[in-house]
């Protein structure tokens, strides 16, 4: 009786093993296999989304780098879809889109140095239910008004009494609500020096803007002198550049408000390597605006009172060798040249599209995050 019972127990145990445990094991294996497959599918979509996002960022970087400073885009672009069948990107959703990306270009502050900012390109791609974001960050920059070079609201250049408004290096953006110009009655040696490794003018530099002084006695009129704004940078991106010229009259001498371009010590390229003047150093200048010109003024007189009077007459500055206008072109500039009177050898033309990108990449390449 006992033996029979034990045999029955073994049989029941074996049956339970077969009926319960084996299906459980099999189910666990099945679930694991399904999980593995899903993981791999998700990984594939994640990578698809990553590379699609990268495509969007790459396009935005290219657009940003090729644009003149004043036209650089900022904000969110419309959504772009990718259709694997046609291997094309479009703004409208195709029926079999692999996914899409949204790109945004914005400026952000460096949390460690609040005055330093970056341009950030954020591209977010979605493939099926998977989202991936890539960030490309470009160089840090400061604004010229943060360095005290000029007033942000008026564009008036500060005088440098007491200290120089030099930036040590890096990129400085010159932005203001009005064109950058001299303060009236600023002595020639009291103008700020704009100095950085790279300078980007996002507003016109208009030294002739509102420079008409009120009538003064001749003794005071003698105090009006020519002024030069020294711009010391290896690479300069200009918007419009307008200078001032008034021919001598009534015994007063010629008056000019001009720009002197200088290359910082130890920077630039030697003249011999670019067909320039041997022994000279050259920087890079991009005239991205529509104008590089001089506005004519004249000496006006009422009885014994004199002043500079604005004329509605502008003369373009031409290249001394090829005779073409400077606006819209890019050059190697010779250290110490005066933009009002460029001399042969002062400006060597360069391929601006490739150079612009190369220079920006040298400053700091876009960093993928």
């Amino acid at each position: 009786m006992k033996l029979r019972d034990e045999r029955g127990m073994i049989a029941i145990g074996g049956a339970v093993m077969l009926i319960v445990v084996l299906p459980l094991l099999a189910t666990a294996l099945w679930q694991y296999s399904m999980f593995e497959m899903k993981q791999v599918d998700r990984r594939e979509k994640e990578l698809q989304a990553l590379y699609l996002a990268r495509a969007g960022a790459e396009a935005a970087i290219h657009l940003w780098m090729d644009k003149p400073v004043s036209q650089r885009p900022e904000g969110k672009f419309e959504r772009v879809y990718y259709d694997p069948a046609s291997k094309g990107f479009s703004l409208s959703q195709p029926s079999n889109a692999l996914g899409y990306f949204d790109v945004e270009i914005r400026q952000v502050e460096d949390p460690s140095v609040p005055t330093k900012r970056y341009t950030e390109i954020i591209s977010t791609a979605v493939v099926a239910d998977v989202t991936r974001t890539v960030r490309a960050t470009t160089y840090p920059f400061l604004f010229g008004h943060e360095l005290g070079w000029y007033s942000e609201s008026s564009g008036l250049i500060n005088s440098n009494e007491g200290f120089l408004f030099d930036s040590t290096d890096g990129l400085v953006r010159v932005a203001a609500s009005s064109p950058i110009r001299f303060r009236e009655n600023t002595l020639p040696n009291r103008a700020a020096r704009f100095s950085a490794k790279t300078l980007v003018f996002e507003v016109p530099l208009n030294l002739a803007y509102r420079q008409t002084t009120s009538y003064t006695l001749s003794a005071d009129a003698w105090a009006i002198q020519s002024k030069t704004l020294p711009i010391v940078a290896e690479t300069i991106f200009f918007d419009d550049v307008i200078m001032l010229r008034a021919p001598s009259n009534y015994g007063f001498s010629d008056i000019t408000y001009s720009v002197e371009l200088r290359v910082p010590e130890g920077l630039g390229v030697p003249g011999t390597s670019i067909g320039g003047v041997p022994g000279s150093r050259y920087g890079y200048v991009f005239f991205d605006g529509d104008k590089v010109e001089v506005q004519e003024y004249r000496w006006g007189r009422v009885l014994f009172f004199y002043r500079l009077v604005e004329q509605n007459s502008f003369s373009s500055i031409f290249h001394p060798s090829d005779g073409q206008r400077l606006a819209g072109r890019a050059f190697y500039f010779r250290d110490g040249m005066n933009l009002l009177r460029p001399q042969p050898g002062d400006l060597i033309p360069l391929d601006q599209e490739s150079t612009r990108r190369d220079l920006l990449e040298q400053i700091r390449p876009f960093v993928w995050e």
Binding site: W30, S33, P73, E78
Partner: protein
């Protein structure tokens, strides 16, 4: 002595054996395909993971070397307020199911 023990022990009846075999057969019929397909799926997932890893490596090399597989592709970028999109010329870099873009 031996024959006495054999005679004394009662074995499983034919019916018991048949029932047991039936249960084993049914379970085997149900579980074996499931187990086999699961193992195949795990194998497949492993292979696919390996392929993805290789494709990712190729993709990274192509991106760093800007090795375009399909030239003449343009990406339209348009700000909401702009009248027309701007087209960024470049080429597609495609590896397996991955695709990216390099501007000219």
């Amino acid at each position: 002595m031996v024959s006495k023990r054999v005679r004394g022990d009662k074995g499983f009846t034919l019916i018991e054996v048949m029932v047991a075999l039936t249960i084993i057969s049914v379970l085997t019929a149900a579980l074996v395909p499931m187990v086999v397909s699961s193992i195949q799926r795990i194998k497949l997932a492993g292979q696919k993971a390996q392929e993805l890893s290789e494709q990712q490596g190729i993709m990274e090399r192509r991106l760093s070397g800007e090795t375009i597989t399909h030239p003449g592709i343009r990406i339209p970028l348009k700000m909401p307020h702009a009248a027309e999109p701007e087209y960024i010329p470049g080429g597609l870099i495609e590896t397996g199911s991955f695709v990216s873009f390099v501007a000219d």
